[in-house]
Symmetry: D2
Subunit: 285 residues, 4 copies
């Protein structure tokens, strides 16, 4: 009701620790390779009755204890945190990939956890799924994907099966750039929908979900072979693939040096970003 590791009650913190302990033991016993922390109520309903700093400190202590226990029992699986911004809470501490990364960095836990990105949670936090995947990826934190989607015009989690091949293509683009996500993978949050109730519906939904991801992967194969998308991006940044670009990227271009260059060059010209072209590549495969 008030969270587990961030509960205002010490008894709840201890109880949650015991539950995680047992679940981790079972995962280890069964040969599990991933262990996801879904902090669905680690947050607040009202900031006015909440000591956010203290709650976040408790959460850090909890994760430190989980890491210590993992090492103690010899469990080598990946620990994952699943960002989710809200619902049922007003604010959940694992709001999005960047917020969760910030938490991990602040408390020195960055090497111990990866992220489990869910597309429906991504859109609820105001980001595209692709954004959340890339944000995780470029920090080396992309560990697993919940392949559910939601309705961007609906403000709660609907956990629908993903059927949009274009969205699947963008997801797979991040996965391929990441060199795969093993030992993580994809999983469907397969709950019965209130209005779609035949057993058959669940079968069909799984088949379509898998088929959609597969077609996304095939599309990425085409995009990679074709090379047009990568070439378009390479060209946009080619001014940095130069000697001065290398200096800047190595942190060796100070403001005095850059001012001297600007005096030589005058006002910069800026090329068109050709915004519709990459969309064409993704949507018209």
């Amino acid at each position: 009701m008030h969270g587990a590791a961030t509960s205002s009650e010490l008894g709840v913190y201890a109880y949650a620790a015991t539950q995680v302990k047992k679940a981790m033991e079972a995962t280890h016993y069964l040969g599990g390779e991933n262990f996801v922390f879904w902090g669905g109520r680690e947050g607040y309903q009202s900031l006015l009755n909440t000591d956010m700093e203290r709650e976040l400190n408790h959460l850090a202590r909890f994760f430190e204890a989980a890491v210590a226990y993992k090492k103690k029992i010899g469990f080598n699986g990946t620990l994952l945190i699943e960002p989710k911004p809200q619902e049922p809470t007003k604010h959940q501490y694992d709001w999005d990939a960047a917020t969760t990364s910030n938490f991990l960095r602040k408390y020195g836990l960055i090497g111990e956890f990866k992220l489990n990105i869910e597309c429906n949670h991504a859109t609820l936090s105001g980001h595209s799924c692709h954004h959340e995947l890339e944000t995780a990826r470029i920090s080396g934190l992309l560990g697993n994907i919940d392949a559910n989607t939601g309705d961007p015009q609906v403000g709660w989690d609907t956990d629908q099966f993903l059927v949009d091949i274009q969205e699947a293509t963008m997801i797979m683009l991040s996965v391929v750039r990441n060199g795969g996500i093993a030992p993580g993978g994809f999983n469907f949050d397969a709950k019965l929908r209130r209005e779609s109730t035949d057993v058959e519906d669940l079968f069909i939904a799984h088949i379509i979900g898998m088929d959609t991801m597969a077609r996304g992967l095939k599309n990425v194969a085409k995009l990679v072979e074709d090379g047009a998308l990568a070439e378009l991006v390479r060209k946009r940044y080619q001014s940095f693939d130069t000697e001065i670009g290398a200096q800047i990227e190595a942190g060796k271009a100070d403001f005095d040096f850059l001012e001297k260059k600007v005096k030589e060059w005058g006002e910069p010209k800026v090329a068109s970003a050709k915004q519709v072209n990459p969309n064409k590549l993704i949507f018209h495969i």
Copy 2:
């Protein structure tokens, strides 16, 4: 058009560096105490044509060079970053306080910058202003406040003068908890509104804005003297103000220890959060 420090064009990067250099020199010459980076176009319109990792690396190099230049010229003012999630870009890299903190931590810049929180940007990123202020405060990053507000039902920045005394009270609560925000302070983004055009309007708006903040501060004085809000929060967490609570908070309570305690205690009881009570304190002053 594609950002400054995160532009795809090296020439723009260099030009922006020169502009910041000049602005910093002027600030120093004039005895300025704060220097705000408003990254209003540091972001992307389409992730498909964007190398987000490379752009963020460039942004870090840019800030490093700014810090180096600050030290070189002996400018001792505070460097601040102003989070803003979007508009005109689809995604801006300084999305919110947590995202900006993550960036600063990742690139080792956390000690060199503070945050300039704007209430209108807070609501655009899906957070209350109070949340953003507290998020900055508990990481020691609260440096300045843009005291503008927006309409939570409008998806762009309107920069209205803040007239809501309750909102001002919550803002001042963070300021007082922070021990003030000097050398930072409050500033109004005072732009002419398209439909409110008399010179007199700007005067009245400034007066009301200042008056609102002053009344917020007076309310906080009452809240602090009265003590009811602090007492309500203290009570919620009192189970941690114990010997075992101290052990947990010191990182000395491992999962084995906690499991032993749970076996002693049984299922925890959880007290009501009394959600309406703190609201009454704030709204019915």
Copy 3:
């Protein structure tokens, strides 16, 4: 699961009709003065599997039958529809006040129903509560108010007690302009919140809710006596309180006539809307 009057199943339609029949009989027997239709699942999850036109036709038939039954049993209470945009459905047919009015007008039911406005539903549909109340009022449809509020940054119904005196002032402004709302009134959707669980909480919440509305009414009394808000609005439109204004408002000013006038007058001047002034009146009472 698929709605009641708009269900795809005839059996559900008939069952719902029988339930409404019984509820109306009980209301009549008990001397009830209002009868609210809360169409919480009259809508669709997916437009692709939905015949929206046929479902809306069924809804109209259902309401016609309800009106006929009301007359048959001699029940003289007000029939009300409560607009709500979504949750749990993707789209609910009684989306907001204007959408519901459109439905009533299309099917010739406009004289038979009034609206029950809930502030939390108003904000979910992208409108302020004041907007929904005024939209209902100016069409003579304001019949009852559910005095619950929600969080504008949360995309689902939270049904919180309203504690904000300024919001209550704006609500009461509409009520007073409406000449009261009898035989309707205010009601609280008083549900237990998951995290605020003491019996005492419900008492306090009711007291605060009533107190807030009462203070709103007192504020409106001051605003009416003071006259500054009404005067500010009157002045904005005073160019229409003229002979030509009367002609336009009577539908007697055609395009030829207006063109002639424009040739006389030249380009119009436009006065400032003085946007912060009415806010000051409401927020600084």
Copy 4:
């Protein structure tokens, strides 16, 4: 600044009338077949300084005068209103298709106007484009389509070219169900984007936009020939394709009759809506 037909200034109303008069004359002279009213500033920034009822009355007088002038000069083209919810105003009176229909019905203008639906405006008002098209269609109001799209995670109008074939398929589904939309059609709001600036970009964008709509139309042809989508919907409602269904739909089934039937039948059974199946048909063409 405060709107045209809904301006608080009579002089602006008259000036706008003269502009519309001239534009209508030019349209007539050039053989135009459609005349769109884009009420981009007909709304309010603050309801507190606004007499919404009076402004809406003025808007009705303005449209009546436009209809009268159309008849006077013998212009036989379609008059269209383009719904748009907000930006730059907080609230625009032509919020969405249902709100605009309500206005037309209230003022007896329903036979004189059709709607021009823009997909980007649809999503800004919290609806899918398909929803807005269907809402217009089933009231006989679908007259023209602005084939622009936006980003559902962005709260302002971006007027991007539509490249998503699945969305185009749903748009064309409404067009085909409508029996076409002549004399209206499709138009692109072709503005230069700030970051996509080559002349070539505009060409490519138009080509992709047209190609996308064409592929949408081809997909609808397949869907119609295949018949699976129509069959899926037909089956959902087949309980109404019966004698009693016909009675209900003819308004001949009162509550007494339905109660008798329920007593015969008992509790109704409800079939699954098979939600993923129609999505599969649209997304996996």
